[in-house]
Symmetry: D2
Subunit: 338 residues, 4 copies
């Protein structure tokens, strides 16, 4: 009988209201600018020696930007993404730098997922009169262990041109049409060339799966459980070389089969409420709450979402994990524990 | 100086009005049913010994279905697609057979592209009171040479359930969301799991490229020339293992650079008019016309399309080719001859 | 029940003594030099319209070089190999051309297999006082259909330096050590960088498999039937992008299971004698005899070889096929018909 | 200017004579058996918090087996290899377990490299009257961070049959012939199916490269510096999914160009002596000495080896690293710092 040592990281929950309060407090006190670079509250797994690591490989933080504020441009080898659980009005400017910089300005709104592969320049700009918060996910712990990280400062200020943006980024106009790739693009750098996965598409895809199930066809992972993976339209692989991102929708009363996998995940409740079980822990969670599933700990969710607490009427869960590392190195294992 | 023997296939043009007339005549005379299977007028390259092959590897035919008529179910290893230059009302039913068959009914409308990988069951059903014609592309000549072809009869009649269909096929509901893949689908058979590429998406993607160009950004292949490749959302490869399909839009007055490539292509003018040059031949072409570009013959198109003769105001060209075979075997070469 | 049309190519046998006689006669009459390029007797499948094609995709010929004679340098996109069933003394000079040419001189001896990927310069030189014959295999018919062929003349004469050679080619010294790759070589062109597979290695590998079987372990394909595939040491794929080459050894009295596959093969009896069955044909064959197995025709061999008619005491069969094309395009099927 | 934080691991040297003395002392005191499993002295990088990790990803240890002693059978997901700098007489038994176990017994001799992909059963047996020591390399630190490790006990005793072995393992008889793969083997598990890379082949390959250089041809990495990578004969990739292994030979007086790379390495001097420089450290090293090159620290070696202190007359260096992880995830960077 094979033995797997208990993971060092432990199951853990962070309440959204607490994170948001901390981030807002930081917004009043801590300036954002060159040197500090970002205003972010990182989730620290209590079993990882006080380091700001959600799991041994994944970083998750709530980032906060005050009205009119800019987060300066930089780049790093760490792969990153942004996911928006509430608010809108921030533009992420990607791929600029230099005197004639003209980065691709990507709007961020509730439900949007923005992958950002390593070594791309990027800055943030809050174009509204409201503060905005969102989740940053990065492979910082993994690249810290691997000692593969590089960092470079970019411009202190983005250009005026980059502060005004169309409703869709240039990347979406090139790569956001289903099954259609631009002939003008030859070689593609690591990571998805599509810089924003809009909520309206994710929502529609999940609905379509549940409707197919209702009509008697396949499409869902299991009864009442629809799920999509955000994928690179260039080659169908994960959006980032080291991180996978998924969206799950579980209808009221459905419960997902308990699964354990090598590798760790961070979940955020996007909408609705449910009871989640991770190893021997169990929590009632609601919009914005984040929790960690360590390696080889069984996970399941029982949806208690309904029309009163969820726009979709179901439990909507965002998930990211280090699965691409495990698959690339053939270390992935999975087991349904029921 | 490397020598390439003159291709055996010759540049050739087929006028749409003639093909349509022949197909309609056949519609009056030739029944469709078991044995005959399909009512199709194949394009025969005059230099290929009288065989109904458009090029040494590609088959192209206009298929015609009378009101209420069904083309019976069968399957074959030959890869195939349908492309609709005019009309609507036919459903292609994919993946059925057997007593409890419930194939995926895919509607066909002007501009839609429907790939159909080998060995999938399929039938056609004309649900309207009008005859309908479309283009069939297959790798019949290639598989004939390779002696890889298998064929099997399916049901003589499709079920009633398969005659009624939603506006979107099940395949589109699972795979038609940009950058989103269903977690429920594991291994995927050869060829695209997305069975229809709707015109509205193709049109939007081409427009987006031209707008990006207008705003001063990349996106087009060359000035005034937008182009997309239909791709497999599972892995980003070509929609079919042996055939590539593309859509090109060329603005009025623009001319594409003359290019020659190993491998052969068939083009159909989807909208607008232009002068095309293939090797030492040159033709004025208009909606529906089909022509062949043999291996290593230079091709270019000068757009004369405008608002009066084109919905998009530009020249719209559909193309399919045997490029995936050349690339898989590392036999692809390309040269811009200007 | 799927139907496969009877292949156009037919099973056919060519006796080695006849081929050798024809080649020797040609040696007396036909000069080798610029323009004629090679003195070769091609095997023409009687069902392929008089063209010198062994199968729809494969060319096989016996090439013949008189004492001291050179075959001039050229290159072509067609992939090629040489296999030596008897004799020695010819050097194939690969990768030369130009004023300072210094091609890699590869000796050829009984049992050696020399792959030669397309677009490499090559010439032949008979360094001995005897004529020498060997088998050339190429994908000429395939590239003829695909219209992918290019050709270029090289030097009329190879250099003196290229006429003297070490016992091993440079390619063998770089790539001929099991499981060891040179760090100095970065990107590798299509096809194997190892230009000679020496008989002593092939023989040892086949013996090892039969010994493992004798000791009670796996290793053989089926009882009494050892087999190896010549593979590219860079990536383990087939030695050539369009052709597979294998060596089979069948012990006296053993019979191989009848197998049919999509794709066609040419076999040469390297040593020993046997009865082969191809479709509804059956022949007694012996050293040097060549025969063709068309697509989807069942093949089996019953070994009658022994110590008197075979150096290894068993039936030794060399085989080449177009399998890589089928696998690259996912058209491969196989069936054991017993 | 991109910044790379100084690696946490530091350059460090371990003297062979010290390691050997410690291992021999352990041999007198510590029994080997179920529970303890192995008698090994691990190299602990002084900057990694007291853990027995040579680098953040790599484990290196000297293992020691007394005359007649067995190390019991087990398996683990960690990938491993053995490299022998002196001695002989130990058999590693791979792939056994269960009542009818008949593992593949692989002899170990000076210069041999034995990869052992994760999850294969293995035990060791010292068949001689002398103690024997060798180097074990594993990805223990990497799998510890990833929390991907599994472990399982096997038999306490290997069978008598497994104590007697031919000179070559079964794996070598199947996979040890250059460019020849057994047709009987279908799918191959992660990691090399070839379980031993014999010194005689490595030595010959390095000699061949230096001779090619002498004759005026390419083949070496740089003047006087030959190198091979141990590779998987199935697909040409690294021998293990997470570890690369190489052998370098540097002629007397030659100095390798200083290179820095992401990822860490462990070197062992196999023969000869030299001065190595790692970052700002520099050491004179000789047979058996081990040292660590952390991520992004420049490394170079100046050979002082000659006929008196080296069998090959040159400096022979064995190296292993975590490069496959970096390449699989596209995190590899390299820079020649001269």
């Amino acid at each position: 009988m094979p033995a797997h040592p208990r993971s060092r990281a432990v199951p853990h929950l962070w309440r959204w209201e607490n994170l948001l309060r901390l981030a807002a407090q930081a917004g009043d006190i801590v300036p954002v600018g060159r040197g500090g670079e970002r205003r972010a509250i990182a989730l620290a797994n209590p079993a990882l020696g006080g380091r700001p690591f959600a799991t041994p490989t994944l970083w998750a933080a709530i980032q906060y930007l005050m009205p009119g504020e800019d987060a300066p441009e930089h780049r790093h080898t760490q792969h990153a993404f942004r996911f928006v659980v509430e608010g809108s009005g921030v533009w992420t400017v990607v791929g600029g730098t230099g005197d004639t910089a003209d980065g691709d300005a990507v709007p961020m709104r509730r439900g949007d997922f923005l992958p950002q592969a390593g070594w791309n320049w990027h800055a943030h700009h809050n174009a509204t009169a409201e503060p905005m918060a969102w989740i940053d996910g990065l492979d910082i712990p993994f690249q810290y262990v691997m000692e593969s990280q590089f960092f470079e400062f970019g411009r202190a200020e983005i250009s005026d041109a980059e502060r005004i943006t169309p409703q869709r980024s240039r990347s979406e106009r090139l790569w956001g049409h289903p099954g259609l790739r631009p002939l003008s693009v030859g070689a593609v750098a690591p990571g998805s060339p599509l810089l924003a996965y809009k909520w309206e598409n994710t929502d529609a895809a999940l609905n379509d799966q549940l409707l197919l199930e209702k009509e008697g066809y396949g499409g869902t992972v299991e009864p009442g459980h629809a799920a999509v993976r955000f994928s690179n339209p260039h080659d169908g692989t994960d959006v980032l070389p080291t991180m996978r991102a998924e969206f799950h929708r579980v209808t009221r009363g459905s419960e997902t089969a308990p699964v354990r996998e090598t590798g760790s995940s961070v979940y955020q409740v996007f909408d609705g409420s449910d009871t989640v079980t991770v190893g021997d822990k169990s929590w009632s969670v609601t919009r914005g709450d984040l929790f960690v599933v360590p390696s080889w700990e069984p996970f399941s969710a029982r949806s208690e979402a309904g029309d009163t607490d969820s726009d979709s009427g179901a439990l909507d869960l965002f998930r990211f994990s280090d699965a691409p590392v495990f698959e690339a190195l053939q270390l992935d294992r999975q087991e349904i524990t029921r």
